[in-house]
């Protein structure tokens, strides 16, 4: 059947329905993006050996967490985390206990994270992240000199 040619109206006017469609699609896009967006987090530490000597200072409980080249984590030489253990639950439990004990005895807890020269940055961040999770802020970072 032959179709009659359609005549375009002289002035179509402003169409609200397609505009709402487009706005909905754009909004959906931004809603999804807002949930999936990656943000940068930072883990604060200080450099070791920064104590003021003029004041009398109370010696805090010092704990050294070692990060080895293969990814093993130790607390004062005792292993607490295997190389493939990313969440480091054992370390978190130990740290939480120590943090609670330090709070109760009103002493400061000083953690030194000492990484071997070839230890990976990711592993160091894993440890610092666990310390942040355990709400420990007094953290210093150092790299062990080769023996």
């Amino acid at each position: 059947m032959k179709q009659a040619p359609q005549e375009m109206p002289a002035d179509a006017g402003f169409q609200i329905a397609p505009m709402i469609d487009v706005v909905f699609v754009i909004m959906l896009f931004f809603m999804v993006m807002a949930g999936a967006v990656k943000v940068e987090h930072e883990l604060k530490t200080t450099l070791p050996g920064n104590a003021e000597t003029a004041k009398e200072t109370e010696m805090p409980d010092e704990i050294t967490i070692g990060v080895s080249e293969n990814g093993t984590i130790t607390i004062n030489e005792d292993p607490v985390g295997q190389p493939n253990d990313k969440t480091l639950e054992n370390l978190y439990n130990e740290m939480s206990k120590m943090a609670t004990a330090a709070k109760q005895s009103k002493t400061k807890l000083l953690i030194t994270v000492q990484a071997e020269e070839a230890a990976k940055y990711e592993r160091v961040i894993n440890v610092l992240d666990v310390l942040a999770r355990a709400d420990i802020t007094n953290v210093t970072f150092a790299v062990a000199e080769p023996e």
Binding site: T45, E117, Y121, A132
Partner: protein, 146 residues
């Protein structure tokens, strides 16, 4: 923008104008929170996950050191913001950091390194910070896995 609808005795009709107002407000809200959080990181750096860290404060003064990792050579490359650093010019780097710090005691050194980077290369950046008198160090990571 859209005006209010007129009153009437009959059943209230669906009003398109206020719906568009609400939609646009929601759109602007989602646009702003999305664009405000866009991560500006060197493409050569794969950051590790630090989900329990604090969100980076862009307003606080910081010297940003980007450390990328070359898998083939097993070497790190350093950048201060976007400028490549000559690792032999230790004094020059320390001077620049010290100048940026000025008298601001809260100035911090933000280390943004590739997850494969070795700790000894991080240590080098810390040495520059120590030379410049900066003892506030922050390590950078992402809130979620890439």
């Amino acid at each position: 923008m859209a005006g209010g609808g007129g009153g009437g005795d009959g059943e209230p009709e669906f009003q398109v104008a206020p719906m568009i107002d609400v939609l646009l407000v929601l759109l602007i809200f989602f646009m702003s929170i999305t664009s405000a959080q866009v991560l500006k990181v060197d493409k050569n750096i794969a950051l590790p996950v630090a989900s329990h860290g604090v969100k980076r404060d862009d307003k606080a003064a910081a010297g940003l050191i980007n450390i990328s990792w070359d898998k083939n050579t097993g070497q790190a490359k350093y950048k201060l913001d976007d400028r490549e650093l000559d690792i032999n010019d230790k004094d020059g780097i320390a001077k620049e950091l010290a100048a940026r710090k000025g008298t601001n005691e809260k100035f911090r050194l933000l280390i943004r390194a590739d997850r494969q980077c070795h700790a000894k290369y991080i240590s080098k950046a810390l040495e520059w910070g120590a030379e410049a008198g900066i003892d506030n160090i922050a390590f950078s990571g992402l809130n979620r896995e890439e």
